[in-house]
């Protein structure tokens, strides 16, 4: 809980500063836009967080967005598939890729970093090939307005992606923090061998995490595709996996595994989007965008490390 509090205070302070310097920050349009982005990024960040809790990593998310995006656009416009069928197909495809990653990691024993790095390269290349390196979009095609509205509309002023995020976060909170599966995830992340010696089916648990991450990346990918409405296969989704990893780590997930919370990931996601927004609103040259994010994340984790160190002093007591 303390970990979330620290990052939450950082978020609150940042919001306060931006709001004071540029009151437009609190304008309805700006908040709405931010909430929409938080919604889309938050959904796949949760998936990444769960993978990280098992001690793994998923670098392929951004490329999966590109691949899903062009496939979805082509299915709906060129092939004339009904919207829901197209969406379900690509989400299922994304889950399939997650399953593949999970099996390569648990059955063949490859390192998650390597497997998903290969995915990052492979899916990007595949997306460009499938789209013949042309930007794909949904143009003026009809028949999937309801689906589109999930990315672009709002209910009672709250953007749909944000609402979706809240629903997904609630479900995943129960899964991670209350269910048997969630406990197994933490156990596997902390000590896979000891979990196995306790009868936990560790390979299934880990594979499951990649499938969940695939599912959430699929949902987020569909939303992002509709949101941008134009998918350039060579750039769509670039670096997005790093946003997710950064959000999870800022939110308290340890890359060593076994630590993290849904609440932390949500706050981490929000923090990153506020930072993006800050660059725009404070008139910082947008070329510095990544530099600002990198610096703030670094300061955040240093502060966290220093906080952690202090109370552990004096614990080196006499128990031999």
């Amino acid at each position: 809980m303390r970990k979330e509090l620290g990052i939450f205070l950082l978020l609150a302070a940042l919001c306060a500063v931006v709001a004071v310097v540029n009151p437009r920050f609190l304008g309805a349009a700006n908040l709405q836009n931010m909430a929409r982005l938080i919604g889309m990024y938050g959904i796949f960040s949760i998936g990444l967080g769960i993978v990280i809790i098992t001690g793994g990593i998923d670098l392929s998310v951004g490329s999966i967005f590109a691949l899903l995006g062009v496939v979805l656009a082509m299915l709906l416009t060129d092939q004339g598939w009904p919207g829901p069928l197209g969406a379900i197909t690509v989400v299922a495809g994304s889950m399939g890729l997650g399953l593949l990653h999970g099996l390569l990691i648990t059955r063949i024993g490859l390192q998650p970093f390597i497997v998903t790095l290969c995915g990052l390269l492979f899916y990007r290349g595949l997306a460009r090939f499938v789209a013949e390196d042309e930007t794909k979009g949904f143009g003026s095609a009809r028949g999937f307005e309801t689906l589109q509205s999930a990315a672009t509309e709002s209910v009672l002023g709250v953007p749909m992606p944000f609402v979706l995020l809240l629903v997904i976060a609630a479900i995943m909170w129960v899964v991670l923090h209350r269910s048997v599966y969630g406990r197994y995830l933490f156990a596997v992340g902390k000590n896979e061998e000891a979990a196995r010696y306790s009868g936990v089916r560790t390979r299934r648990i880990i594979t499951g995490a990649y499938v969940i991450s695939g599912a959430l990346a699929g949902i987020a990918g569909v939303l992002i595709a509709f949101y941008t409405n134009s998918i350039a296969p060579s750039t769509h989704g670039n670096f997005n996996e790093l946003y997710g990893i950064a959000a999870a780590v800022l939110g308290g997930c340890s890359l060593r595994g076994g630590e993290g919370s849904i609440l932390g990931i949500l706050i981490g996601t929000a923090l990153l989007q506020v930072l993006q927004n800050l660059v725009n609103l404070l008139g910082i040259p947008s070329s510095l965008n990544f530099a600002v994010m990198g610096a703030v994340i670094l300061v955040g984790v240093i502060a966290d490390e220093l906080f952690k160190r202090r109370p552990s002093k004096g614990l080196s007591n006499a128990i031999s």
Binding site: Y184, K190, R196, A318, I319
Partner: protein
């Protein structure tokens, strides 16, 4: 007696940690060429005293004299500069270097010149000389990765000697060694003594202490509890001083074990020794000791029976019914549980709290519909820990904060509530103090009385002789003999452990 002042003299050492007195006016003197054993239960203050000697903690009161001169020790480096070397329980050696590289790590002899290139010739010559002094028949160029645990320990000793240590502190040096390796180490200790090197020897194994110590200092609750010398160093006297009371000798194993075999293993083949098969049976209520040298394949048998390593062949019968075990889930479903050798790696998730550890194997029992009921979970954990007398502030304590003995009880607590039919203990009391040991033996006996079949792998000869109803001895993947209680003796077991079967009874293959 002699004019030379003692090598080490610690007097009136007192240390408090946030108000709690860890050491209270403790004295410890070590003469030249003297082997002093320092014993006491966990928490008695041995480690604190040694950390003060190593400069990790500063004493609140008291003086330390080395060779008669008062000194202040601020770091391990300080201690080494004054001729005190340390051989730790957890080995501090680097796998990726050779022996010479480890022995002289940080103090490599260098050629002159700005590049400070390592003088390899001198490095190896000096290391080889040390290895010879210790009587290890390996070259200084051998990679650490190729060495056994015992040999690595010798490397640590060589490192201490390379710094001209006049006093070497050994903290539980034999806790992971086999019987023959232990013998070798004790021999080295004796040789070092003859060379005038003094030794502080910390161990829970009282047999070793009896064998080599010139003097024993016993600590209890942070105070000197007594000193024994020469003939006075006897097992019962040591125990009495350590615990401050007489431990009722754990009830001798009883032949009351029923003869009906509860657990039968036939022709088991492990991946480590595919050409050998292992067969044995354990009756309900029986404790079968598994003796042998490390590497004899005992752990592999236990791992195959628990399903963490797949067996190459063989069959397993539980209550005369054949069962198939290909995963830990299979074993657990049949009521066969393993208490593994390395509890911090395999037995527990040390970063998790006791509650989470205890309920992990049967989480679904406290999670109807897949959602964990915190109240039920806590109660389960509390009951399990309570019945084993685990000493912890609460079930919400992190497992890593517990002592070794209490951690082992938590591992046991995981299985206890599941109604064990067969328990496989692998080195159940390694690194555990006398008090907790007695409790674990008692618990094993209680489980046996309730009808469980118990397999106990142990490299501790006292433990094997004391706890087992029968002893099976393994050598290079096969069972060389099974001894009944009447035939128990250290010699008989050792003979079988090194593979001499001629004098043993015919193997009672089930």
């Amino acid at each position: 007696m002699t004019i030379t002042p003692p090598v080490l003299e610690m007097a009136g050492i007192t240390k408090r940690f946030s108000g709690v007195v860890a050491l209270d006016q403790v004295n410890l003197t070590v003469g030249q060429g003297e082997v002093v054993a320092l014993i006491g239960e966990n928490g008695a203050g041995k480690s604190t005293l040694m950390k003060i000697l190593g400069g990790v903690h500063a004493p609140d009161a008291g003086t330390i004299r080395v060779g008669g001169t008062p000194v202040i020790i601020r770091s391990v480096g300080d201690a080494m500069a004054r001729g005190i070397g340390f051989v730790h329980q957890e080995l501090n050696v680097l796998d990726n270097l050779d022996i010479a590289g480890n022995v002289f790590l940080g103090r490599e002899p260098v050629h002159g010149g700005p590049l400070r290139l390592i003088d390899r010739k001198r490095l190896h010559a000096e290391t080889d000389a040390l290895l010879e002094r210790l009587g290890i028949g390996v070259s200084s160029r051998t990679s650490l990765a190729a060495l056994s645990l015992a040999q690595r320990q010798m490397v640590e000793i060589a490192r201490a000697l390379s710094q001209n240590a006049r006093l070497v502190l050994m903290d539980e040096p034999t806790s992971s060694l086999t019987l023959s390796e232990t013998e070798r180490l004790l021999q080295v200790v004796t040789e070092l003594r003859a060379q005038g090197v003094s030794i502080i020897y910390i161990s829970h194994r009282l047999g070793e202490v009896e064998q080599i110590a010139d003097r024993v200092e016993v600590l209890r609750d942070g105070k000197n509890a007594g000193t024994l010398t020469g003939e006075g160093i006897r097992h019962d006297a040591l125990v009495t001083l350590m615990v401050g009371r007489d431990i009722a000798a754990a009830d001798k194993a009883q032949a009351a074990a029923t003869k009906t075999p509860r657990f039968q293993v036939r022709g088991l083949q492990t991946a480590r020794y595919p050409e050998r098969t292992v067969s044995f049976s354990i009756g309900a209520g029986e404790i079968l000791g598994f003796a042998g040298l490390v590497g004899a394949g005992r752990t592999e048998v236990a791992q195959a029976l628990f399903g963490v390593e797949r067996a190459r062949g063989g069959s397993v019968l539980l209550d005369n019914k054949a069962i198939s075990i290909t995963s830990p889930q299979d074993a657990i479903a049949s009521g066969i549980y393993l208490i593994p050798e390395d509890r911090r790696r395999f037995g527990l998730i040390t970063d998790m709290v006791l509650r989470e550890n205890v309920t992990l194997p049967a989480l679904r029992r406290v999670a109807p519909a897949g959602l964990i009921q915190r109240g039920a979970e806590q109660e389960t954990a509390r009951n399990a820990c309570g019945s084993l007398n685990v000493k912890a502030p609460s079930v919400e304590a992190t497992a890593s904060t517990l002592s070794g003995g209490n951690q082992q009880k938590v591992v046991l607590a995981k299985w206890l509530s599941l109604g064990p039919k067969v328990l496989l203990f692998d080195e159940p009391t390694r690194g555990i103090d006398v008090g907790a040991k007695a409790e674990i033996y008692e618990q094993m006996r209680t489980l046996a009385r309730a009808g469980a079949a118990i397999l106990m792998i142990s490299s501790d000869m006292e433990e094997i002789l004391h706890v087992s109803d029968r002893v099976a001895v393994m050598h290079e993947g096969g069972i060389t003999g099974v001894l009944d209680r009447a035939d128990f003796s250290e010699e008989a077991i050792m003979r079988l452990a090194v593979g001499r079967t001629e004098k043993a009874k015919a193997v009672a293959a089930a």
